[in-house]
């Protein structure tokens, strides 16, 4: 059906969506916030009150600075605006200070910082292959905008739980968009900035490294001078970053900074297991130990007493299967992404191939990494959205990954008050993504096969059991972590499946760099 009015203003819908989601974020100002709120308040306080040399040594609060220096400078900048809201929040000793003005300021800072994200999404939409003549709701750029701006994970992690992921992912998406637009130097610069804002993006650094080296430093074209020039540019970039670092710190600080950034003392798994391979590993270990005791293959007294299901962030031993060390996880991670990197090196496939490799790196690190947070799944979901609106197979993988990944974020908001919000928003995003992608790719049958659909539908009874039925049973007191375990194991299946499918699609896709002329 044709809309009653002509779409006179092509960009007004973007503005409407952005404003709409901002209004929603404003309404969530008074919602529950996690300890991350205090973390950021503490960082505001210490960057404001102390000289830079002491930022990474300060330990009055338990929430020490564990993000790279550029983020610390960002907090420093924010602290100057914070002064006008409530000076008390900038006092380091005011632990857990959360006056209404503080909450308002911090929440607003996240909402305003999201402007970077909005801009990045706009740029990404420009790189899509538009289908002219479709009505607004069926346009890939519209669908992508909603999938990104109204992303469920970002909304609940940033605007309820409290973090600055929108801003950071904005920088990432902008970098990707620049690569799509062949402005590679800017893309590389943005990524370097991103790494200095949050080091978790090291997960995807290999993809960037290989892609940039392959395509711009060692190209097969005749332009050897060109490629060497690009190589120099990127090398200069790295040197610039190093100089930036050393200008901020006395040389000796680097080990301290690094020790804060990479705290390997924490265990293999977080209190709530991220839905990755190690969750499945843990459950297999538990199952084997129970079976072993039952069939008298193992002596119950010889098994280590505490186990992963205790839920504390400490290092524990596995009972039956071999224990996993940080080095082992690193090896597994590298092994998991190596095939993708090789593939990109041999058959680059342009910016889209790079993006696919990026998602695989993010997902591989999520699957095999040490002490992974479930929030890290967003690093795979958000870039995948770009691919999802352009290819059928990617849309399918996106649906499985996003629905499962978003559901795995549910335990982050455990308060009763937020329960309706997370259910409503999850349904909102899920219904939109399912129906819009289904409509976009309606030629060629159903998007999800029956098995996948059943798996996703299984999330509904899982939610009902974990959040409604289980708390009323008697096991709630004896095995309080059982629902969390169930959730993470069930989601791990979906995430693993998506990972495998994504790999298959990367390894089997034909080389279409020659076909794609337009970007």
């Amino acid at each position: 059906t044709v809309m009653a009015a002509p779409v006179t203003n092509d960009q007004s819908w973007f503005f409407a969506l952005a404003l709409g989601v901002s209004f929603l974020k404003c309404l969530l100002i008074n919602a529950y916030h996690s300890t991350d709120f205090e973390v950021h308040r503490n960082w505001l306080a210490l960057t404001h009150s102390l000289p830079a040399a002491q930022w990474y040594y300060e330990a009055t609060s338990e929430w020490t600075l564990d993000y790279p220096p550029l983020f610390a400078w960002f907090e420093y900048g924010l602290s100057h605006i914070a002064r006008f809201f409530d000076k008390e929040m900038l006092v380091v000793q005011n632990l857990n200070y959360a006056s209404p003005a503080t909450i308002l300021f911090q929440r607003l800072s996240v909402i305003v910082a999201d402007v970077v994200f909005f801009y990045a999404v706009k740029e990404c939409c420009k790189s899509l292959r538009e289908d002219k003549g479709k009505d607004l709701l069926g346009k890939p750029s519209f669908i992508l905008t909603v999938l990104l701006l109204w992303n469920f994970g970002l909304l609940i992690v940033d605007h309820i739980h409290f973090q600055y992921n929108g801003f950071l992912f904005g920088v990432l998406l902008l970098s990707i968009a620049r690569h799509f637009q062949n402005r590679h130097f800017e893309g590389a610069l943005l990524f370097s900035i991103l790494l200095n804002l949050k080091h978790i993006y090291l997960y995807i650094a290999p993809a960037y490294g290989i892609y940039l080296l392959r395509c711009f430093c060692f190209t097969q074209s005749n332009d050897n001078i060109w490629s060497r020039y690009n190589y120099l540019k990127i090398w200069n970039l790295r040197r610039f970053i190093d100089k930036f670092y050393s200008s901020l710190f006395i040389k000796g600080q680097l080990p301290q900074v690094l020790s804060r950034l990479f705290p390997f003392k924490r265990g293999l798994c977080h209190a709530y297991w991220a839905p990755n391979i190690w969750a499945l590993y843990n459950i297999a270990d538990k199952a084997f130990s129970i079976l072993g005791v039952k069939f008298k293959l193992l002596d119950i007294n010889k098994l280590p007493k505490a186990s992963m299901t205790g839920g504390l962030v400490q290092e524990f031993q596995h009972s039956v299967l071999p224990s996993v060390s940080p080095l082992a996880t690193l090896v597994c991670t590298v092994l998991s992404i190596l095939p993708a990197l090789f593939r990109i090196w041999h058959r680059p496939n342009g910016a889209r191939g790079f993006l696919r490799c990026l998602v695989i790196c993010a997902l591989g690190s999520f699957m095999f990494g040490w002490h992974v947070h479930e929030k890290a799944i967003l690093m795979a979901i958000l870039p995948l959205s770009l691919l999802a609106v352009e290819s059928r197979e990617d849309a399918r993988i996106f649906l499985i990954l996003s629905i499962t990944g978003h559901y795995s974020l549910f335990p982050l908001l455990f308060t009763t008050q937020e329960l309706p919000i997370k259910i409503f928003l999850m349904l909102l995003f899920t219904i939109f993504s399912l129906t819009s992608l289904k409509t976009l790719f309606r030629k060629g049958g159903a998007l999800l096969n029956p098995l996948e659909a059943t798996y996703l539908l299984g999330l509904i009874p899982l939610e009902l059991i974990c959040e409604f039925v289980y708390p009323l049973t008697v096991w709630q007191k004896t095995f309080p972590f059982l629902p969390l375990m169930l959730t993470s194991v069930y989601c791990a299946l979906g995430v693993t499946y998506a990972f495998i499918r994504l790999y298959i699609s990367l390894l089997t896709c034909s080389d279409s760099t020659k076909k794609i002329k337009t970007q």
């Binding site: 059906t1 009653a4 409407a16 209004f23 008074n30 409509t439």
Partner: protein, 456 residues
């Protein structure tokens, strides 16, 4: 995208906004001894659960009518009773007779908010969806846009989920009534509306159009024969519904009288607080409240209300079709609001002009956000779907400025109530303009582009 998915997205957006608003403060939070409407609703649960029916509306040792006595019709009382049963299951302290006065806790707030959400989902939202689906003209996208605008209407959200009330029940039931009439199910429509009336007496504002429409329809079908039969069926439905609702109160003639006395407090004055109606605005110039005697005030308000309703009702009587019906609803409710006795500002449920009330409740933030969102959204959608632009957009900055002045400027010491009064008067002038405009539209029936012949 399919219709069902678009509609469900609208519903989910509406539900999310509602619940997000409910995070904020409620009426009378932390303000002993009287607290506010929230405490009133909790108190009614306490009263209906612990006391026998014949004591609910009476001033007894156990029931102090000065502390939020019941002043809504029986259906509200029954609703409170049901909620009280649930409350008792969850935490008996919430409805303990006398001991639970002023009870405030996080879990109790969640419970109360949940009851509002529950009835909203059960009654109001399905009615809105069906209404938009069946009775909106235009393409499916326009229907969805209308549904979104109605569901995001800040007035209802803020009053129900912020201040705390159950307007969605009575409005929802009334909407079911309208739906019934529109689909030609007159009996169902009458039943639904009678229930709405028995939930909140404020629905009297809509009663005359219902009456005139149905009467006119029956007359058209011929007073001898089908029409008469239909009229009899409708009257029977209404009477039986009333009887069922009031059954516990019919045993003793004193009961219904007392209930009516509570419902229509003619003992109070012409108006309380700042309301955007004629009397309040007039009071600024001429102190009618003190000048005229109570009887004269009653007579004046009755006369003027009647005067303003009559034209539209008579027109509806003569031409009972849906379009006339809808307009008559608007005109009738406006007339009652502007001229009747003891009107509360909530009666109008129009966002921008309830600012004073909401600021008192600590609901400034959700008010600003939802109103701005609603205004922006409705103006945006309106301009895209109907190709009208200019006249509406000047409204937006105007309202923003008026809100801003109200919040940030200090009134001069001589007139501490200056801003609320100004807002009231401004709103009153708007409503006066609306009632004149809508009356003209209804009476003169200007040519419409599409003729929508909805068969009754």
């Amino acid at each position: 995208m399919e219709n069902w998915s678009l509609f469900s997205l609208c519903v989910l957006l509406g539900l999310t906004s509602r619940w997000a608003v409910s995070f904020h403060s409620y009426s009378g939070a932390g303000k002993p001894p009287m607290f506010g409407d929230y405490e009133a609703q909790r108190h009614w649960q306490e009263v209906t659960y612990n006391l026998p029916v014949h004591e609910w509306y009476f001033n007894t040792t156990n029931n102090d009518l000065n502390y939020w006595g019941l002043d809504y019709p029986p259906l509200t009382a029954y609703h409170s009773l049901v909620c009280a049963y649930v409350a008792k299951l969850l935490n008996p302290e919430w409805v303990e007779l006398h001991a639970s006065r002023g009870y405030e806790s996080h879990s109790h707030k969640l419970f109360m908010r949940a009851t509002v959400l529950f009835t909203d989902i059960l009654i109001y939202i399905p009615a809105v969806l069906l209404y938009c689906f069946y009775f909106c003209d235009g393409f499916s996208k326009q229907k969805v846009a209308t549904a979104l605008c109605i569901l995001l209407y800040p007035g209802l959200i803020l009053i129900d989920y912020g201040h705390f009330q159950y307007n969605s029940v009575s409005l929802g039931l009334a909407l079911w009534g309208i739906l019934g009439l529109g689909l030609g199910w007159d009996l169902f429509g009458s039943l639904a509306f009678t229930l709405a009336l028995n939930y909140k007496q404020m629905e009297l504002y809509h009663s005359l159009p219902f009456f005139c429409y149905l009467l006119g329809k029956c007359i058209k079908q011929g007073l001898i024969g089908r029409g008469f039969f239909q009229l009899a069926k409708i009257s029977l439905t209404v009477l039986v519904t009333f009887a069922l609702c009031w059954m516990p109160f019919l045993s003793d003639p004193k009961q219904p009288l007392q209930v009516l006395h509570r419902l229509f407090p003619f003992g109070r004055g012409l108006f309380e607080d700042k309301v955007a109606n004629t009397w309040c605005s007039l009071n600024v110039l001429i102190k009618i409240k003190t000048l005229l005697s109570r009887e004269t005030q009653l007579f004046l308000s009755f006369a003027l209300t009647l005067l303003f309703i009559l034209p539209s009702s008579l027109k509806l009587l003569s031409k009972p079709n849906l379009w006339q019906f809808k307009l008559a609803l608007v005109n009738s409710s406006l007339a009652f609001f502007l001229f009747s006795f003891q009107v509360h500002e909530k009666s109008i449920l129009l966002a921008a002009f309830m600012l004073p009330l909401l600021v008192k409740d600590g609901l400034l933030l959700p008010y600003v956000v939802t109103s701005l969102a609603f205004l922006f959204l409705s103006l945006y959608l309106l301009s895209h779907l109907t190709r009208t632009n200019e006249p509406l957009f000047w409204y937006f900055p105007f309202l923003v400025i008026s809100v801003a002045t109200f919040v940030w400027l200090e009134p001069p010491a001589k007139f501490p109530d200056l801003f609320p009064v100004l807002v009231s008067i401004l709103s009153f002038l708007h409503f006066l303009g609306f009632i004149i405009y809508f009356n003209l539209v209804q009476l003169m029936e200007p040519q419409r582009k599409k003729s929508q012949k909805k068969t009754n």
